[in-house]
């Protein structure tokens, strides 16, 4: 085949995103007026120790100076990967302190916890577990504003929350359009303090979102547009954000990229890489971004073996990773491989810069866990959105290749 695969339009698609985006320098200054528009003035702030120690809550509290807003409560004990226990506890504090809105300040762990709290409060329940799964929600939600402090999950614009259940050692998924925050506020000062390794890992999460969203079977021209602009920004900024975290322009670019990738995958979904990463995170506590970074090249190689159409799509992404004049020189049948090589190059670059693990072994996963990870991955919702059917043996193969 020596003509590039044509972009096919889906016979049908849906797209939804209702989040107001406020992005850029001094963006924090707009939160009080947004709360006012939402009819709220007593928010609870939900965050974690890492974020509060970095002094980021001070910026937020400071932005309310001279406004009628009172912080009803500040909760900074959110655990990594969230937990249903924390969610129920925070909901108690929200009620006791008579708050009227929620502000999440943190990475995916904090944002997803806050989404859980909003569910418990709005559904007037005392147990989050009753609402696991898809479309269990029916009540209107409380005003909810998100200020991401990592540039990776895109959770500020997604209809999903992933919350761990430590008692059962699983990650539970919640999806509903009602989960979407009202406003996402991206301000470069909020991500500058991110350590290099977290910067690299979360950025690879965002790249994985964009790539999986573009090659998945639910992709469409609107989600593609978001995925493309995300990949372009990530490719241009991921290395300098890790190397030179103090550069505000680079930080803002990465925050925007992560949001764009989030809008894309919230509509077109993610596939085998995320299914395996969720399972690896749930069973072995590998950070989500690290798991994605390790698994992305192997997941793509699996698709190439299985589906020529998907291989063609992966090949088309090469144009975002190399200069246009070089792209034109790569023969079409080699583009697929070259895309994966380009992603591997980013990974090894990040590995040298900050020690981002390149294999599951380096991430601390032991061989005896692979089978249970493969089994758990088959029951992850993302499996339904792989462009090809995935068997247990195939999932295990991908894990072994990444081991």
């Amino acid at each position: 085949m020596n003509t590039q695969q044509k972009e096919s339009c889906p016979k049908y698609f849906e797209f939804f995103n209702s989040v107001k985006i406020i992005s850029g320098y001094k963006a924090l200054g707009n939160i009080s007026s947004e709360l006012d528009l939402l009819g709220a003035k007593r928010p609870i702030i939900i965050t974690d120790k890492g974020v509060s120690k970095a002094g980021l809550i001070d910026h937020v509290v400071d932005s309310f100076g001279g406004t009628p807003v009172t912080i009803g409560a500040l909760y900074d004990d959110t655990p990594i990967d969230s937990s249903n226990v924390a969610v129920n506890e925070i909901a108690g504090i929200y009620r006791q302190q008579e708050c009227d809105s929620i502000i999440a300040v943190g990475g995916g762990s904090v944002i997803d916890t806050a989404k859980g709290v909003n569910i418990v409060i709005s559904e007037e329940t005392d147990d989050l577990m009753k609402f696991t799964g898809n479309n269990r929600l029916s009540k209107p939600m409380k005003p909810f504003i998100v200020i991401p402090t990592t540039a990776g999950t895109g959770s500020e614009v997604t209809m999903a929350a992933v919350i761990a259940n430590p008692a059962q050692n699983v990650k539970m998924q919640f999806t509903s359009p009602l989960i979407l925050p009202k406003v996402a506020v991206l301000d470069p000062v909020m991500t500058m303090s991110m350590p290099a390794k977290i910067t690299a890992a979360t950025a690879m999460d965002a790249l994985t979102h964009a790539v999986e969203a573009y090659i998945g079977p639910q992709k469409n021209p609107v989600s593609d547009a978001f995925a493309f602009s995300a990949i372009e920004l990530i490719k241009d900024n991921i290395i300098s954000a890790t190397k030179n975290g103090g550069d505000k322009d680079v930080r803002l670019a990465m925050a925007n990229a992560s949001l764009l990738a989030g809008v894309s995958f919230s509509n077109s979904m993610v596939g085998i890489v995320h299914a395996l990463a969720h399972a690896t995170g749930g069973l072995c506590h590998v950070p989500h971004g690290v798991a994605n970074a390790i698994l992305l090249p192997h997941g793509l190689e699996f698709y190439i073996r299985k589906s020529p159409e998907t291989a063609g799509r992966i090949g088309k992404l090469l144009r975002f990773f190399i200069a246009p004049e070089d792209y034109a020189k790569v023969p079409i049948h080699e583009r697929t491989k070259s895309t994966i090589t380009a992603i591997r190059d980013i990974n090894s670059n990040l590995n040298q810069l900050c020690g981002l693990p390149l294999t599951l072994t380096q991430a601390g996963v032991t061989k005896d866990k692979l089978e249970s990870i493969a089994k758990a991955a088959l029951n992850d919702g993302a499996i339904a959105f792989c462009p090809v059917e995935v068997s247990y043996e195939e999932a295990l193969e991908v894990l072994q290749a990444a081991y």
């Binding site: 696991t132 898809n134 919702g381 339904a384």
Partner: protein, 177 residues
Amino acid sequence: MGNATIYREIEPSEKWLKTQITRLCLYFLGMGIETAYKNVPEVKKEMDSLPDTFSFCFTVLNGPSMMILKNGNRVKYVGEKESYHADLELVLKNIEFAYLMMTGRISTPDAIYHNRQFVRGNLGHMMLMIRVMNAAQALLFPNLLLRFYIKKVPRLTMRTMINRAKAYTNATIGFFA
């Protein structure tokens, strides 16, 4: 002055035939799952990993439905139980989609990608039930037709043929009993 008789109510058609065909297909699918649990080891293994008491409902919004109940080591198709709130629900948004799906013109994966359905409940369990329904469909339909229904068509073996015969027999007996 307008003439009041112009403003009549419009009662859209009932789509009686499509509803009945869908109802019949759901019936066969339900019986198919029951038979698959008894005769296909992989299906039994899958469904045994579900919670001990578990209910699955495949329904058309405001339309026909089918309910599968699992209780310990028994899996039973119990017909249309709409008033009951199942642990896991797969809801098709419109009878038109259901009809197209049942007659093989929308595949299960396409029904998902095109948002013709929504799931209420644990997605992991839904993934498992999709594999079970694929196996049940493999029992019910000739391979030629299967291509329209599922992503990967299984090889036709003697065992599939025998199980297929059992599924038809069970369903027919159930239907006239």
